[in-house]
Amino acid sequence: MDLRFSPEENAFRQEVRSFFQTEIPLSIRSKSIEGRRLTKEDMVTAHKTLHKKGWAVYNWPKDWGGCEWTPVQQYIFLEEMQSNGVPPPLAFNTSMNGPVIIQFGTDAQKKKFLPRIAALDDWWCQGFSEPGSGSDLASLKTTAVRQGDHYIVNGQKTWTTLAQYADWIFCLVRTDPSAKKQLGISYIVFPMTTPGVTRRPIQLIDGGSEVNEVFFDDVKVPVENLIGEENRGWDCAKFLLGNERFGIARVGISKMRVARIKELARRVPSGSGGVLMEDPQFAEKVAAAEVELKALEMTQMRFLAAERGNKSGKPNPATSMLKLKGSEIQQTVTELLMELAGPLAIPYANDEDDMIGHNEPIGAEWAAPAAPTYFNYRKVSIYGGSNEIQRNILAKAVLGF
């Protein structure tokens, strides 16, 4: 047992860190670190810079541009990415739809889609959830009826993140309404510009509109856009949902936020003389979060090491714990930032909103994102399988209930 990183691993960390710090524009990284909203252009720039370096689809097979990194290297890469405020490669492309096409697509589909997915020449979005199908995804109602060499798609998706930027969508649709739940579902893809597709942004409680409703009204999709077999789309969905294993805890992001909180707390006045970091009550809350975070980091490394021995390709259900604890810590940390801001967190200074009164409040340059980030991060224990669902999984798969 040797719990230290090897010299090679440390060298790798240096390499990625230095790339991130020199090649990804500081203006973009600062936005992430300070909790300001990234534009589409920011995300594309970061993705394309990583892609040029060959790192955007590090997790893919070598033939399609992957890096064949060890789990430890992947861990280091993600941690450095997160703690340096580098926007990650677009997940819809690289860890969701791309791997599904690699696993289930035809050669023609692979050749057609993968290079543009990897390069973010097309921005993809995910059409899974529906108003009546959240935790119970398999109850989805959007239909695709075969007519000749097309499907006619009707229905509605919701919580579609960044659909406003998307060129393509990958969708779960019901192709056999008579089959039981999972059995009649297919995975199809089509351009967002297809006639009959409309999007409606949903404003979230942080003031932004990162999610959308997407409506399908007789949308005509060629049969060759079916990925995998008809009525076997649930396999793709399970594969996709089980695919994200280690980024999920977001240790690096929380570390970055804790560092920022400590830095700010060393200059924000406590009100009663001195700065907030000298207030033991606040400082102890920060330290308590650091302890949980360190434990989670070690837990992640332990699971990662166990994963190496896992040749089954099946996700380790214990990774649900990373989601559970990771989301809890992310929420603790965003709440601490709001607490740090105190009364200065009260003003609402969203520059993309249409509310009147666009005066910049005092303290806005650092305090304005505090409350919106806290509000926004309530979602991390809801989406991607709510924490209640994760507990159900752990109870069954790990504890054997």
Binding site: T158, L204, I205, G271, I346
Partner: protein, 384 residues
């Protein structure tokens, strides 16, 4: 001991509940008002005045109702339940308390009837950028002009309702160090007086506030609230009245949010059953219920204690109130969003509005941590 409302109180409660529930029945009403010029409805404000709500805490000789903390609690609960946007808190509760408790007869007679009638709105310009939650931390200066008046110089921030208020109750320092309780004064300043600059903005909970700069603002002798240099007790009691009201408003909000959540759990189906059939969600709803009940109790306790003459007892009690309100509001708010899932995250659903307001209430006039520390410094709640 008697927990029953009097007939008049019950009537007030029924009326204010009915009116606010009716006016804010649609969440769209709220989101549209949020985007309107003033950020609230002047028509609703007029109705509140007609119902006598704006007159509640003031003496009858000034056009008030001569009522007390129970009555403003009833209003607070209703306003919290309906998520009312009108500036009742800044006008009647905060600045209103400062005038009621601090001003001389002449000022009261001049100003309060207008407040009670709904023709004058106020704001309490006390918070400063570096003061955080310390009530005595005031650097805005008031220099005597030699004729009984003062010249104000300084900056205030997050002045609730400050963007549209007609007059401001401004705290400033006539002497003493930055955080000294001695040397503070309160002034009634016209919001459009020369030297007053306001930068208004929305707040996270959908209401409005402003940063206020005071640059050579002249206040006559008739604009001084009480005795200059001795205002700290008035400021403290103003904030204590604010805490009592916020406690009631938070209780109204969290009660409604809890009901909304239980209702949602009973109707939302997943896996072929209402999600409320899952024991885990039931138990978590029960824990929310417990938090709401504990908060209700402390909102009532606030009514008992906010007029307690013993200032140490009153202070400790009001710290305790804010601790419990902050703790319950956080728990109920966070769990409500979690139990709702995605829908609770959207501005199209009332749940998120409650959550945001409850979150902001904790940040107003000291969060739970701050008041716990102050309570501890004061020796705790039980007799020392």
């Amino acid at each position: 001991m008697d927990f029953d409302l009097s007939e008049e109180q019950q009537l007030l409660k029924d009326n204010v509940d009915r009116l606010t529930a009716n006016r804010y029945a649609e969440i769209k009403t709220r989101t549209e008002l949020m985007k309107s010029a003033k950020g609230y409805s002047e028509a609703f404000w007029k109705e509140f005045a007609e119902m006598g709500l704006l007159a509640i805490p003031f003496a009858e000789e000034h056009g008030g109702m001569g009522q007390g903390a129970i009555e403003t609690m009833l209003v607070g609960e209703a306003f919290g339940r309906a998520q009312v946007l009108e500036p009742y808190f800044p006008t009647v509760i905060l600045a209103g308390s400062a005038l009621r408790l601090g001003a001389g007869e002449a000022m009261k007679a001049a100003v309060i009837p207008e407040v009670a009638a709904g023709t004058l709105t106020l704001a309490f310009a006390h918070q400063e950028p570096e003061a955080r939650f310390d009530l005595a931390n005031v650097t805005t200066s008031a220099k005597a002009d030699g004729k009984g008046g003062y010249v104000l110089e300084g900056a205030k921030c997050v002045v609730l309702g400050g963007d549209s208020a007609d007059k401001l109750v401004v705290s400033a320092r006539v002497s003493g160090d930055r955080a000294s309780k001695d040397g503070l004064a309160l002034f009634l300043v016209d919001a459009n007086a020369p030297g007053v600059t306001r930068k208004g903005y929305p707040t996270q909970d959908g209401t409005r506030a402003a940063d206020v700069t005071l640059s050579g603002v002249k206040v006559g002798a008739d604009g001084v609230i009480g005795e200059a240099g001795k205002a700290y007790p008035v400021i403290e009691r103003t904030v204590q009245n604010g805490i009592a009201y916020l406690a009631a408003e938070a209780v109204g909000g969290m009660n409604a949010l809890h009901e909304l959540t239980v209702e949602y759990l009973k109707t939302r189906k997943q896996f072929g059953v209402p999600i409320g059939s899952f024991q885990v969600l039931q138990h978590r709803s029960v824990d929310m219920f417990v938090s709401v009940e504990q908060a209700k109790s402390m909102a009532l306790y606030a009514c008992v204690m906010v007029d307690e003459p013993d200032e140490s007892e009153r202070r400790r009690a009001m710290h305790a109130v804010k601790v419990q309100i902050g703790k319950s509001a956080r728990h109920v708010g966070q769990e409500a969003i979690q139990l709702h899932g995605g829908i609770g995250m959207t501005m199209e659903y009332k749940g998120g509005h409650y959550f945001k307001r409850l979150t902001m209430i904790d940040l107003m006039f000291g969060n739970a941590d701050h008041h716990l520390r102050e309570l501890t410094k004061a020796g705790g709640l039980l007799a020392a």
